[in-house]
Symmetry: C2
Subunit: 215 residues, 2 copies
DNA sequence: CTTCACCTTGACCATACGGTCAGGAAACGA
DNA sequence: TCGTTTCCTGACCGTATGGTCAAGGTGAAG
């Protein structure tokens, strides 16, 4: 566990804000703790401490640990889907896939905890979000495969397997969040700088877009 | 937890074999349980049940849960390093990187649990194998970067950033193990067939090798 | 001010977990 | 056969954890 830093939590006056603000602080703390310790290793006490609340107060807002975890995972899934829109309304793979890589790399940098929670959830067999995988994710995947296939048919890129292209996009971009600690260690223990993130994005886009013959 | 299948454990007669056989069964069970539940979610009782031994017997061979976990992670790291030799004594990127992708994809198929344990360990900040990252892995990485740079200088591939190429190789190949459940779900719930694994390997190699201008 | 719904929290409980231990069984060497 | 080392295991222990509860505090509405 690296950071003991407490989540900032403003004391709101208005009644409506109390709930929203506390739920926000709890979810933010939970995302961090679940990411750093895993579901089994996370404790409600630790989340409570990081959110700056007594443990009993957590159970007032979230009945069980599973409830809290479910909310965290759902939140992340929504962010994933938002980024996915980069894919749409693009004339070709250079713009569409390029924007998608940009968006996903940005998420890896700004939401590393969320990415790890998602990875952990999937690695453990997706006990909580299995239905999302079978519905929303599958539909989204099928749709993007159709788009890629269209680009191939239009001669805008080489005839690669669209499904494995998607896997490569997910793997490569999320790697910078999920394995961020390893990358930081190999970067002499220092987090990637702005310039290094730019270099990472450029490298990924360059290799992928050339790999599919889009440039 | 998907599989309750007990690890096969032969009852050996000879004294020497008892230790080896039991340690093997425990490590095999532990790898599976740690992968499916994470370190925090795994219990010694569950590992004992899967190994077909009383819990107290586990503590006879491995003093603590951390000890057992450490052994599991080390075992995986050795497998990683063995595969790395594919990189060496290759005349160029097509052979070297091609063989490396083959080897790592094979490991993702044959040792999915190990890959997940490794991923989980790194995601949690590598509390156990931090020193490996800073020594063995860093040295190996630097060496391969030098090899890739030589290939670039010799005009055998485009001048990509060798470090980000390595990250892409790791990410893409390990994705098929770590996110195997997601891939299986998107494959109508069925594990990838032999033919589909061949297709995956070919796709990855094709996109990567073209992406770096080696073919 | 009164009322009431909502929020807060220290104390508490049952359970499950990692780990211990003593005593017995089994393998080995002489 | 006997002694010694290694292996086996049921019973047990202290602790930490998820969750509960009852009593008290606090903001808003009339």
């Amino acid at each position: 566990m690296s950071g003991d830093a407490q989540i900032s939590r403003l004391k709101p006056g208005r009644r409506t804000d109390i709930r929203r603000e506390n739920e926000r602080a709890i979810l933010e703390a939970a995302e961090k703790v679940f990411a750093e310790a895993g579901f089994g290793g996370a404790t409600m006490q630790l989340i409570a401490d990081m959110a700056g609340l007594p443990k009993a107060n957590l159970h007032y807002y979230f009945a069980t640990k599973e409830d809290l975890y479910r909310k965290v995972v759902q939140q992340i899934f929504e962010i994933w889907l938002d980024a996915a829109s980069s894919f749409d309304d693009a004339p070709g793979p250079v713009e569409g896939i390029g924007a998608y890589i940009d968006a996903k790399m940005d998420i890896s940098r700004t939401h590393p905890h969320g990415s790890k929670v998602w990875a952990s959830e999937v690695m453990h067999g997706a006990p909580v979000i299995q239905d999302y995988l079978e519905t929303t994710l599958r539909d989204w995947t099928d749709g993007r495969i159709a788009v890629i296939q269209r680009w191939i048919d239009e001669g805008k890129m080489r005839p690669v397997n669209p499904r494995h292209l998607l896997y490569m996009l997910w793997a490569t971009t999320q790697h910078y969040a999920d394995f961020g600690h390893q990358i930081q260690t190999l970067n002499n223990g220092k987090p990637l700088s702005d310039k290094q993130w730019q270099e990472a994005k450029a490298s990924v886009k360059d290799m992928v877009l050339r790999g599919i013959g889009a440039i």
